[in-house]
């Protein structure tokens, strides 16, 4: 029989102590006597291509890399406790969230190639539980990109494709089309291509259109090599660029060619050949580029030659002639040797086993009757030298389209 004092003592001492002990040992600590849920799981920030249906997310996965959805799920914890997280596809790196009350955004990463349903379960020892469903579809798309440019090319052999910051699409340095997406991730034939980032700047100020040459700083063009065999598609994504180790590419071979114009002088005609005054070697991730400036009596030549890892090499020549009322009998912008042939919109020289493909003004001509020495900036001369015998000229750009990734629903 409990005596009356014992009852009073128990009431006054033991019961408050019990309550205190429960409060201390409860998972919610001082929150033990709060009402309401332990935590709440909701959908956070998602890109526009993610479909949301209640607590189900319609996500994409890519064959190329993990697809990250930062902050796609938010866990609001109302108690100073941690909630355990487990996903059935390894989409969430964290095994628990919480600690202190607050909102915890979770980064979701869908592994490459995953397809199907993926549950993310949130549990707590108290018995509280919640879950989010990811319905994942595998698509041929570089992860994280909202849009892409689809460039349809028709050609043969190795092509060097660049996209400038303004979206200008260059093939072997020659501007050929405008891409709606300027990016540095290129996908071709189900592979992500190694890309270079090479800055270009104006060689001479205030020239319209600008004369741009490779440099160590300036507007970056991203370039890749693709090997064409007929019609195929190249995708350009705007996504974070991958860092690439520089390949060991030998310096470009010297440009052995007759370059200049014949000028009249009191004692007879002279050939005004360029004298190099400046030369710089740049190494991009994929090429070695030799930029040089040369001066002659009536012109200045800005040129760069570049070597590639695919056996071909190229050059771009920009002549700036002074305003001179001199007559000439020969204008040779580029004449390595051999006879000049015309094939469509390009000029061809065949010297030994090397074929020079040239796009631009007529590379060599003899003036009969004499013509005036050219004046001002001449159109660029784009040269591709092919010792492999496999190249068949610049490819044809059939179309350039923009595609935007849309949310999917089953």
């Amino acid at each position: 029989m409990m005596r009356r004092e014992q009852v009073i003592r128990t009431s006054l001492f033991f019961l408050p102590t019990l309550v205190f002990i429960i409060a201390l040992t409860a998972p919610g600590g001082e929150y033990a006597f709060r009402t309401g849920p332990l935590a709440e799981v909701s959908i956070g920030q998602t890109p526009q291509y993610v479909g949301v249906d209640g607590k189900a997310l319609y996500l994409y996965s890519s064959p190329y890399a993990p697809w990250q959805y930062p902050g796609a799920v938010v866990v609001k914890v109302f108690y100073p406790t941690t909630v355990l997280v487990f996903s059935t596809c390894g989409a969430v790196a964290a095994s628990s969230v919480g600690g202190q009350p607050g909102a915890y955004p979770l980064d979701v990463v869908i592994p490459p190639g995953f397809q199907g349903d993926c549950w993310v379960n949130f549990t707590h020892p108290s018995g509280w539980r919640d879950a989010v469903l990811f319905r994942v579809k595998l698509i041929d798309w570089y992860p994280g990109a909202v849009e892409r440019a689809v460039v349809t090319l028709n050609g043969t052999g190795w092509q060097f494709v660049q996209v400038g910051r303004d979206g200008m699409l260059y093939i072997w340095e020659r501007p050929m089309a405008k891409s709606p997406v300027a990016g540095c991730v290129f996908v071709y034939n189900k592979s992500v291509l190694l890309a270079e980032a090479q800055p270009y700047r104006e060689a001479a100020p205030n020239v319209i259109p600008p004369v741009v040459v490779p440099s160590d700083a300036g507007d970056v063009r991203h370039g890749v090599f693709v090997r064409l065999a007929g019609v195929s598609e190249l995708y350009v994504y705007e996504a974070p660029c991958a860092a690439l180790k520089k390949l060991e590419v030998p310096i470009p071979p010297p440009l052995v060619a007759k370059m200049g114009v014949v000028l009249p002088t009191p004692t007879g005609p002279v050939f005004d050949a360029p004298q190099a005054i400046k030369s710089t070697l740049y190494r991009s991730e994929l090429r070695s580029i030799n930029y040089s400036e040369a001066a002659a009596r009536v012109y200045r030549l800005y040129m760069y030659t570049y070597n590639t890892p695919v056996g071909l090499w190229g050059a771009v020549l920009r002549y700036n002639f002074a305003l001179a009322t001199l007559l000439t009998a020969e204008i040779s912008l580029f004449k390595p040797a051999g006879e000049l042939e015309r094939a469509g919109d390009v000029w061809i020289y065949r010297v030994g086993n090397v074929t020079y493909w040239i796009h631009g003004p007529q590379p060599h001509r003899v003036c009969e009757p004499p013509c005036g020495v050219p004046t001002g900036w001449q159109s660029p001369v784009y040269i591709v030298a092919d010792p492999t015998g496999e190249w068949r000229g610049w490819p044809q750009i059939i179309s350039v389209k923009r595609e935007v990734l849309q949310p999917w629903r089953p």
């Binding site: 000028l263 009249p264 007879g268 009998a329 009757p369 004046t375």
Partner: protein, 190 residues
């Protein structure tokens, strides 16, 4: 044998447009030196249109590459003889202000027989009006005097240019031997 030929063949207009004294304008001419067989008749004096332009004729062409109008003058010498052409080219002032012109920048552009020196002497002269140094001289296919002194042309006045030519006696007949660029320059008014 001395052959003196005086010809008036073509009026070539000098494109002198600028009114500012610091502007100079260059009119490009291109002179071919040709050869012909000796004529049977000796021409002297003020003949015009001699032998239908056998000894000097001129035309012009447009060079689309540079936009230049180039006057092309063909002067024909007789190997072994001295040819004086006293009216090869006329350069007229079409403006209502006086202009100063001179012959300048004589240079050899094409030598069709580089191993031989056939053009022994060629002088392009300002026949009327004349200046202190009134001729440019090419000797043995090299220009030795490349500029004349300027002459002033009153509005509407024409300058008459003449040529003296000595072709080596060993030169082939009916051939073009060499071609010279000679500029007629409107110089800033002094």
């Amino acid at each position: 044998m001395l052959l003196a030929v005086k010809l008036v063949l073509l009026a070539v207009l000098l494109g002198a447009t600028a009114l500012f004294a610091t502007v100079s304008i260059i009119n490009v001419t291109y002179w071919y030196v040709n050869t012909t067989a000796p004529p049977v008749i000796k021409y002297v004096g003020n003949d015009t249109n001699v032998m239908n332009g056998t000894f000097v004729k001129a035309d012009w062409y447009y060079d689309p590459g540079t936009g230049l109008n180039i006057t092309r003058v063909y002067v024909t010498g007789v190997p072994g003889d001295i040819v004086n052409i006293t009216n090869a080219l006329r350069v007229c002032n079409n403006y209502n202000v006086p202009v100063d012109i001179r012959i300048s920048d004589v240079s050899l552009l094409q030598d069709y027989y580089p191993s031989d020196v056939y053009v022994r002497y060629m002088a392009v002269r300002l026949v009327d009006p004349t200046a202190g140094d009134d001729q440019v001289v090419i000797k043995d296919e090299a220009a030795v005097d490349t500029t004349t002194d300027p002459v002033t042309l009153a509005p509407g006045q024409c300058a008459i240019l003449g040529v003296d030519l000595v072709i080596d006696a060993n030169a082939p007949y009916y051939k073009t031997l060499a071609a010279f660029q000679i500029n007629i320059e409107k110089v800033p008014q002094s």
